[in-house]
């Protein structure tokens, strides 16, 4: 209605803008629908992830076992008691771990894309990936029993610290005279990435133990959810949930950042402080996720981008939707990784890349606008 009255009142607008305006209208109506869909999708994917595997367990049984565990209801155990252990101690932690990692990476993606004002930014941009990888490599070659996958082996701890330390270092390097220009930050990140990869290669080449663990390391680097007890899920889960909460609080800041740093300052924001907060929050989420999953690409890049197309750019809804969407996406990818050539397990990173990379390329070619770093 409004659109039509406008086009007759003023010079006729090109047809494309009318379509776009309608798309925005549709988007407004769709938003609640999409949230409902995402809220339904997540439990369904979790259920599917728990039920599928080397031994397929019917949905009904899975539900009954889970409800029994809640101690609120009690179903008569008409199944193999081993299934209870498989579900509670193996599949559920892993599925929840995947969901948490997906949510964390997706929200970190929103934070970095919003702060850098570039819809094609990614959580690993600031050196988190190479820092985590170096930490993991050190854990692998240390003469301790750090078998990949064991509860609280050194690997997640060192990966987590490596990621956070790298980002802190990159931030410190890029800070000049009380300001941290985005371009400097990105360049420092790129250089730090290259440096840490070189150090990692050097360590692997010089270390005699490396050959024993190379396969495990390769798996870690290609990304795979490695959880088989509740503790890491609890710890990583609380970090990621806290991170998402913080991100939701900073949603309005990200909206203001879309105007550019100076525009944000004109709206009364202390830009440098919030930039620091956003970087740290994004890196905390990334580091927490990486510590139990290894390097999983594309979740943090593609999820926010896709949801921005669906529900629009306002950051609070976008963060909530990305958390839900990323969780479902990675749970599903993990499910596929475990079942496609079962009993062998493929690295999850392979699946996210197989889905994510073509989508990313499609976006690159579709986008008429040029993306700027400024």
């Amino acid at each position: 209605m409004k659109i039509e009255s406008r086009t007759t009142a003023e010079s006729p607008a090109p047809a494309t803008t009318i379509v776009d305006a309608k798309a925005v209208h549709v988007r407004h109506r769709l938003t609640p629908l999409i949230f409902t869909a995402l809220l339904l999708l997540l439990p369904l994917t979790l259920l599917a992830a728990v039920s599928a595997g080397s031994t397929a367990i019917p949905f009904a049984t899975v539900l009954q076992i889970l409800l029994n565990g809640s101690h609120l209801l009690h179903f008569r155990e008409s199944w193999d008691p081993a299934l209870t252990i498989i579900i509670w101690d193996l599949r559920l932690p892993e599925a929840l771990g995947a969901a948490l990692v997906g949510a964390g990476l997706a929200v970190a993606g929103v934070l970095f894309q919003g702060m850098l004002r570039n819809p094609l930014a990614d959580p690993f941009l600031m050196g988190t990936s190479s820092g985590a990888a170096l930490g993991a490599v050190i854990a692998f070659i240390l003469p301790l029993d750090t078998t990949y996958g064991l509860f609280f082996s050194l690997t997640p701890l060192l990966a987590f610290s490596g990621a956070l330390l790298t980002v802190l270092l990159v931030y410190a390097i890029a800070r000049v005279g009380g300001r941290t220009p985005v371009v400097t930050l990105l360049l420092a990140g790129v250089v730090m990435n290259a440096l840490l990869v070189a150090v990692q290669t050097l360590i692997l080449t010089l270390s005699p133990q490396a050959q024993f663990n190379l396969q495990a390391l390769f798996n870690w680097l290609s990304g795979g959810i490695s959880v088989n007890s509740w503790w890491p899920v609890m710890i990583v889960g609380s970090l990621i949930m806290a991170g998402i909460g913080g991100a939701l609080v900073l949603g309005q800041v990200l909206d203001a950042f879309a105007l550019g740093e100076e525009g944000a300052a004109h709206l009364g924001l202390r830009v440098e402080w919030y930039k620091f907060l956003l970087i740290m929050l994004g890196s905390l989420l990334t580091a927490a996720a990486v510590s139990i999953s290894g390097l999983i690409g594309f979740v943090g890049l593609v999820t926010p981008h896709m949801l921005r197309l669906l529900i629009g750019p306002r950051h609070r809804p976008l963060i909530a939707a990305s958390a839900l969407g990323g969780a479902s996406f990675l749970t599903l990818a993990d499910l596929l990784a475990r079942t496609v050539i079962a009993p062998a397990v493929l690295p999850v990173g392979v699946f996210t890349a197989l889905i994510g990379a073509p989508f990313f390329l499609y976006l690159l070619r579709q986008s008429k606008k040029e993306y700027r770093w400024s």
């Binding site: 209208h25 819809p119 309005q252 909206d255 550019g260 924001l269």
Partner: protein, 461 residues
């Protein structure tokens, strides 16, 4: 030439009748490179002021200082009787709003979402939008005529529409002072008018105080009752009639212009030399005017009195070589026929030296002001010496504090040298003092009062 003097801000008390905005002797530079020196400017509530100046004159930097994004290197900016550094960012955003030149928006925000961002200083980061905020957003969109575009993505709008949306966003901040950075720079003529009409309406009907950096002199003359010409400092401040003075503009912008009232309009127009014939015509008229025969060497404020005196007596003069940012440079831009210029703080370059020699060739009287002499400008005295040796008149001004002695040539050389006070201003390790001594030996006269210069120059002319 009717140019208002810079408003002397002085130390106005913080209470009572203070201006909305008071820029007090603000100097700013990035690193060691100064952008401008000692800028003073006052804005009263309800004014609509256009800020003019060529590219790189520091207009945008001044606006960034006023919006609190940058801090002055020296001097103070007072807003509503409070120093800008003592405002909290969020408080400031409720009084001062900025409309940028243009906005690159990476995401598909709709017009309404964007305008609503203007409420952030009120809503806070944790808060949510209340009915009052929504009302303000709606009002801002109504006033700027973008309400019908509320659901459209900002990126799909035309340039003029985008600019109006940015004004709407600024209005949602309910500011008292609106700063605009060349709001029409990227617009075609229709939208330029549209945006400026809007700003004018906001100023007249809503009492919003406006300061806008403007590129287009004609639009500035048409819409702004007060103009400030900026060239690394405030060069002129007043009505369009006073500021759009052809000689002033041609010196500041470095191009000959004509200013007049085009038939059927009510405002000034500035016309650059259009065709070659026209340009030749202006050059011809310029040639008919005799070139100035007086040259002033000054620096650091030492030339102020003599330059003002010459201007009052309508004696045309050249000035140089002055560093950009030097207070004498700013004054000379206003008063002298031509100013030889050197980069800020830089020593005299070879190019400037050659320009100086060319300029001195036609000069009959050279006035040397009591400036400080260092390695950077000692070359001026060497050139002065060669002028003196050619038998032309060179006048050496003494500092104000001396000057009790009547000037004359009958005194002994050491006493004269003493009178010039050069020893105290010599930072070249004696070379400047030797040069002054040689100047005195070559017939240079020591003058203790600037008005004496007038007689000597007038005789020559």
């Amino acid at each position: 030439m009717v140019v208002n003097l810079r408003p002397e801000s002085g130390n106005a008390p913080a209470t009572g009748d203070f201006p909305l905005l008071d820029v007090r002797h603000v100097t700013f530079g990035y690193g060691l490179q100064p952008v401008f020196f000692d800028a003073c400017l006052q804005l009263a509530t309800g004014e609509m002021v256009g800020l003019l100046g060529p590219n790189g004159s520091g207009k945008t930097t001044l606006l960034r200082l006023l919006s609190g994004v940058l801090r002055p290197t020296q001097g103070e900016i007072w807003l509503q009787g409070r120093e800008l550094g003592r405002w909290r960012r969020r408080e400031l955003a409720r009084v001062v709003a900025v409309v940028p030149q243009e906005l690159h928006m990476p995401f598909d925000f709709t017009v309404e979402q964007l305008v609503a961002l203007g409420r952030l200083p009120f809503v806070g980061l944790l808060g949510s939008y209340g009915p009052q905020d929504r009302a303000r957003v709606e009002e801002a969109m109504q006033v700027t005529g973008v309400a019908t575009l509320a659901e459209r993505p900002f990126n799909e709008l035309s340039g003029g529409e985008r600019q109006r949306v940015l004004v709407a966003m600024a209005l949602a901040q309910q500011p008292r002072l609106l700063l605009l950075d060349e709001p029409t720079a990227h617009l075609d003529i229709r939208y330029q008018i549209e945006v400026l009409e809007l700003v004018q309406r906001l100023n007249r009907e809503h009492g919003l105080t406006v300061l806008a950096a403007m590129h287009d002199l004609n639009l500035a003359a048409r819409y702004f009752p007060r103009l400030v010409l900026f060239q690394r400092g405030v060069v002129a401040d007043g009505t369009p009639a006073a500021v759009l003075e052809p000689r002033l503009l041609s010196r500041v912008y470095g191009i000959a212009v004509q200013v007049g009232i085009v038939r059927g309009t009510a405002h000034f127009s500035v016309v650059p030399p259009g065709s070659r014939e026209e340009q030749e015509a202006t050059e011809e008229t310029a040639a008919q005017e005799p070139p100035p025969r007086v040259f002033v060497m000054a620096g650091g404020g030492s030339g102020e009195r003599v330059m003002r005196a010459l201007a009052d007596w309508h004696i045309p003069f050249l000035a140089g070589v002055l560093n950009i940012g030097d207070s004498d440079h700013t004054l000379a831009l206003r008063l002298a026929s031509r100013v030889l210029t050197e980069q800020p703080y830089a020593p005299l370059s070879q190019a400037a030296l050659e320009e100086l020699r060319a300029a001195l060739a036609t000069v009959e009287t050279l006035i040397i002001c009591p400036m400080y002499v260092g390695p950077g400008n000692v070359a001026l005295l060497r050139e002065a010496l060669s002028v003196a040796r050619q038998g032309r008149q060179v006048l050496l001004l003494t500092p104000e504090t001396v000057g009790a002695e009547p000037s004359g040539t009958l005194q002994e050389l050491p006493a004269l040298l003493e009178q010039t006070g050069i020893a105290a201003r010599d930072y070249t390790g004696g070379e400047a003092t030797r040069l002054v001594e040689q100047l005195l030996q070559s017939g240079t006269r020591v003058i203790s009062h600037p008005t004496e210069v007038l007689g000597l120059c007038a005789v020559q002319a």
